[in-house]
């Protein structure tokens, strides 16, 4: 029995070491960001032995990172809110109401899964340009509002709610909107939170579309903005890593806080794709 425990212990240790090697690039970025530029090119100890925050101070004071944060927060929050509200309403109609075109609409939503969104970017860019929305928040937001998985997940969860509860609200004189916001939504706060987090992270991290639709530095989101600094700094390893970590901080912290929801959301949305 003790031999078996020792084996389990050794196995856990090995897996932990593998995990630490896996995350090493992130750790190494942190180590680098806390050193002086001179030190980085002269010797490279693996352990964090210096707490020099000058790289962070310089990045925050010389780059447009604060503006990019604002752009990222605004576009991601607005996108997430609209995606959830429109998706939830549409899913409710698909799940609970009978109306002509219902099947067609559902099929369209399911089929839109298959379309590779980047293939539409040329046409979406032309549309944004025609609407005068290049270099604006709405230009970043509008094409990202199509998230069929939100509709499909909500529909599945709404389908599962017993009809009796519905009848009770209808007898009390409640309408469809009362039903949705007073019954169906409160019963699905968990999945709503999960969908919100995954939509937020996806939007926050999107690179290709904001990169196309924004050319002015003042309108850039974090993932696009930090690639500009790259060119401006030249060789400046500590500052580049400080920049990378400052850019990643919101998603890392968000993930660590809402870990369970993120995990749940990833699994639910992938299950649907099957």
């Amino acid at each position: 029995m003790t031999a078996r425990r020792a084996r389990n212990f050794a196995f856990s240790g090995l897996v932990l070491i593998a995990a630490m090697i896996w995350i090493f690039p992130l750790y190494w970025a942190l180590t680098t960001s806390l050193r002086s530029e001179n030190r980085i090119v002269s010797d490279a100890g693996v352990f964090i032995d210096e707490f020099n925050i000058s790289a962070y101070v310089e990045v925050l004071s010389t780059s447009k990172l604060p503006i990019w944060y604002l752009n990222s927060v605004a576009t991601s929050v607005i996108t997430t809110a609209i995606v959830l509200v429109t998706g939830m309403m549409c899913a409710y109609a698909l799940s609970q109401l009978r109306f002509p075109g219902r099947k067609t609409l559902y099929l369209l939503v399911v089929a839109s899964f298959m379309v590779p969104v980047p293939a539409l970017y040329v046409a979406q860019f032309i549309l944004m340009s025609d609407l005068g929305l290049v270099n604006t928040w709405w230009g970043i937001i509008l094409p990202q509002l199509i998230v069929p998985v939100v509709v499909i997940v909500y529909k599945q969860f709404f389908d599962a709610i017993p009809k009796e509860m519905r009848e009770a609200v209808l007898l009390d004189g409640g309408g469809e909107f009362t039903l949705l916001f007073k019954l169906y939504l409160p019963l699905n706060w968990g999945i709503t939170a999960a969908l919100a987090i995954i939509t937020f992270i996806t939007t926050w991290n999107n690179f290709f579309w904001p990169f196309l639709v924004v050319t002015s530095e003042d309108m850039m989101t974090i993932p696009v903005g930090i690639t500009q600094v790259n060119d401006a700094f030249g060789v400046a390893y500590a500052r580049m890593m400080a920049l990378a970590l400052l850019a990643a901080a919101p998603v890392i912290i968000g993930y660590l806080i809402f870990q369970k929801r993120v995990t749940e959301a990833v699994m639910i949305s992938a299950g649907v794709k099957g």
Binding site: L97, F125, L245, V266
Partner: protein, 308 residues
């Protein structure tokens, strides 16, 4: 039909039924309208538009002439396009199966752990997945920096000298594949762990009682029961990796000598740098068709799998 009173009641019932039906239809209209509006304008219309553009010689901004299939004929004679297609295929080979195998090994290891240890290890393996792509490429460009990259001694140990990996035609795609696997693998690990959790414990117990070795247990129990999830991971990866653009743009910009030039890179260049909206749309259509075909095949495969 019956007494007058009854028919009056029937009429009332019919009226309230019609009224309810009208209310239902109005609610359905109001509830679907916002989504439908966004969907039509920002998704269906661009889909139509990209198809239409691919038959014209339009610049990015402005009108063009209908030129029939000329863009597609041009594609067939475009050597760069075939280089792009080949590089996409090469990248798929470098990522899809390797990442699934790595994810499977990690998932098997993590699922053997318990409690907090499991949570900690899973967090470490999953964390890169939530990072923005440009953060990932910044970090890896530093890891692999020609002069001071911490991985260069490792590379030198194998090849005898440091290699500027993203400026070397042989190293560039494999290294972008490594970066991509590091970044996206956590997603696959999660799905496979969920799959492993769904395998009933008593099957393993029964296999153990029958004297099966761990190796036999894996191939006779785990592998066949996990296959639907494994197949899902494989196909999702295939679709994802065909859409390669960000990492290539940020790490090597398609070079050196076009050795990391991919289809979306060409679409981007044609549309946004060479101002050929029509030709870029034809390129997009090819990717569009490839991915739709893969998706339909995947759907059919999974449905067949589900029927068994």
């Amino acid at each position: 039909m019956g007494a007058p009173g009854q028919s009056l009641q029937g009429e009332e019932a019919a009226m309230s039924k019609a009224k309810r039906r009208r209310r239902e239809l109005r609610a359905a209209g109001l509830l679907t309208a916002p989504f439908l509006f966004v969907f039509l304008i920002f998704f269906l219309y661009p889909t139509y538009k990209v198809i239409a553009l691919s038959f014209t010689d339009a610049p990015l901004i402005g009108d063009g002439q209908w030129i029939g299939l000329a863009n597609y004929a041009k594609l067939l004679n475009d050597r760069l396009f075939f280089t792009s297609l080949w590089n996409n295929l090469y990248f798929v080979l470098l990522t899809v199966v390797p990442t699934t195998v790595i994810a499977l090994l990690i998932a098997l290891a993590v699922s053997k752990l318990k409690g907090r240890m499991q949570a900690l290890v899973l967090t470490l393996f999953f964390l890169p997945y939530v990072l923005p792509v440009s953060v990932v490429t910044l970090i890896w460009a530093w890891m692999l920096d020609f002069q001071f990259g911490i991985l260069q001694p490792l590379i030198a140990a194998v090849t005898g000298k440091p290699v500027p990996v993203f400026r070397n035609p042989y190293w560039v795609m494999p290294m972008i594949a490594v970066v991509t696997i590091w970044w996206t693998n956590g997603f696959n690990v999660l799905l496979l762990i969920a799959g492993l959790r769904n395998i009933p414990e008593d099957l393993y117990e029964a296999a153990s009682l029958d004297g099966a070795t761990p190796w036999q247990r894996f191939w006779r129990v785990t592998w066949p029961l996990l296959w639907p999830v494994t197949a899902l991971v494989l196909t999702l990866q295939l679709i994802l990796q065909l859409k390669l653009f960000d990492q290539v743009y940020l790490l090597s910009n398609g070079g050196p000598f076009n050795s990391s030039y991919v289809v979306l890179m060409q679409m981007y260049r044609e549309a946004f740098q060479l101002n050929n909206g029509g030709y870029a749309s034809a390129i997009a259509m090819v990717l569009f068709l490839v991915i739709v075909i893969v998706s339909v095949l995947q759907f059919q495969l999974l449905r067949l799998g589900g029927r068994k």
